[in-house]
């Protein structure tokens, strides 16, 4: 389970970085989204991976899943949603004002 999750995070991060370095706003936005997914999974995994464990304290249970990273991830997801929405609107605005979707506003292909 750990290996699969680590690989998923690695692939997401790598593709995120690759896309962020592109010169068009659309791939950049996609790259940022992928980076956000990767970091959310990473934060989630920091509570260690467990199966069938209670997150809330009860009398007869000794092993718990850590609930804090889940709360952190929730916050991070909300923030990254907001930021993605903002950057999409901004790149649309840039597209209409500069006449093309190059990040430096340069024309051509």
């Amino acid at each position: 389970m750990e290996v699969i999750l680590a690989l998923i995070i690695a692939v997401l991060t790598a593709s995120g970085i690759f896309l962020t370095l592109k010169a068009r706003t659309y791939p950049v936005v996609l790259g940022l989204t992928m980076l956000a997914y990767a970091v959310n999974l990473f934060l989630f995994a920091m509570g260690r991976l467990h199966l069938n464990m209670a997150p809330i304290i009860q009398k007869d249970i000794t092993h718990y899943a850590d609930p804090l990273p889940q709360a952190l991830v929730l916050t991070a997801i909300v923030i990254s949603f907001g930021m993605t929405a903002f950057v999409i609107v901004l790149s649309l605005k840039a597209r209409s004002e500069m006449g093309n979707d190059h990040v430096d506003g340069k024309g051509g292909n």
């Binding site: 706003t25 980076l35 952190l72 923030i79 990254s80 901004l90 500069m98």
Partner: protein
Amino acid sequence: MHIAILPILIPLISGFITLFAKPFGLKVQRALAVASLLVILLFALLGLVYVLEYNYITYQLGNWDAPFGISLVLDRLSALMVLVTTILAIGAIWYAINNNIDKEGEHFHVLFLLQIFGINGAFLTGDLFNLFVFFEILLLASYSLLLHGQGKDRTKAGLHYVVINLVGSTLFLFAVGILYGVLGTLNIADLAYKISQLSSNDTTIVAVAGLLLLLVFGLKAAMFPLYLWLPAAYSKTSAPVAALFAIMTKVGIYAIIRVHGTLFGSKAGELSHYYTPWLLNIGLITLIMATFGVMSAQNFKLQVSYLVLASVSLLLTSVGINTVESLSGTIYYIIHSTLLAGGMFLVADVISRSRGKFGDSLVRAPTFKNAIFVGSIYFIFAIALAGIPPLSGFFGKMMILYGALGHIQQGLIYTIILLSSLLIIISLVKTGSTIFYDTDTQSDALPSATTQSTFYPIIFLMSFAFLMVIFANPLSEFNVATSMQLFDSQSYIDAILGMKEGDI
């Protein structure tokens, strides 16, 4: 004591009240914004008075004991930073109101107050994840403020600024994740305590997380090689926003002092102050690049942006020197450079508007009405920012250089700082003579584009260059006590965790 949360709550609440006050017109919004800033100023002063008496004021949100809940910490440095932010914000909003810059788009005052909310939160929080959240708040407000008033150049600079900060946020979360995974806590005091107990197997990974955090804070503070967004963003946005942004880079510096200084302080064993050589050398490189930027800038606003960069890199260097003297010099220089660089952006705007179609580009242009008055103000600001006696910049630089005495890289530090000061002085002299002396005498003087009220906020910010010199002695005593408090990370841990005395 609720004093620790008031500088966060007041701008948040008044920000939303200002949003809903829109139907009542801009006048009401202006009054609300100014009134709430004055209230924050009152509480910032009160907070400083309390801190002088009690040293630490902690506030546990929801009454959850640290390290389980989120702690807010008001100590000497955070109280001072909140005060400086408020003073700068008053100057900036005063200028925006007097020159109708807030009419260029909607909701200027709402965004402005939310920006203050984010900045004050970042200064007051004692929790790493909460710091991330406040960073996002201040960034989102700054994105909107940066783009406020529209324009093609602003959109382009804004896009770069947003994308690089989003990448920075992702890195921040990676670092937070690593620290939580290894240490199991995110409270800064508790992190420092856990790092002092760290087993040697885990030191490398914590060191990696610490350097990732340094990268993130360095991005906010615009350190080499992550500074390229700063000149573009700051020179393109409107003057009061650029002035307010003078504090934003200092948020990065503050975060380095707070987080790294506490986490990797003298108790951290192997990791004790391991980040300082990085800071010192990167700071020196940034200073060189900033000096080149100041020398090569083709227009004045860009030059001021590079001056902000130069002051930031000096601060990075002096945090990297890491002595009590250099840190107290850092604090003095933070106050000076925030207020004066903010004021310089306003001066740049006055010059740019006065010169009509020539704007702020450094070319020969006809002179303008009241050029002598504007020139005198420019002269004072230039003296202060370049660090020539008798104004505050000189004292700040002197304190930092004094702190560098006896450092292993003393020669290098002195050479680079003094050479860059010289080159900045020459560039500012050249700028001043291009704008005010070497004018096109053939054509008539341009009509005045400013009113008397334009200059009130500028003179307000300028007065601190004098006040900081007149009150240099009590101020530097305060700064020395502050930096001793910062070096004493044990008392920070005790104040927040409220136990574990003698455990380390």
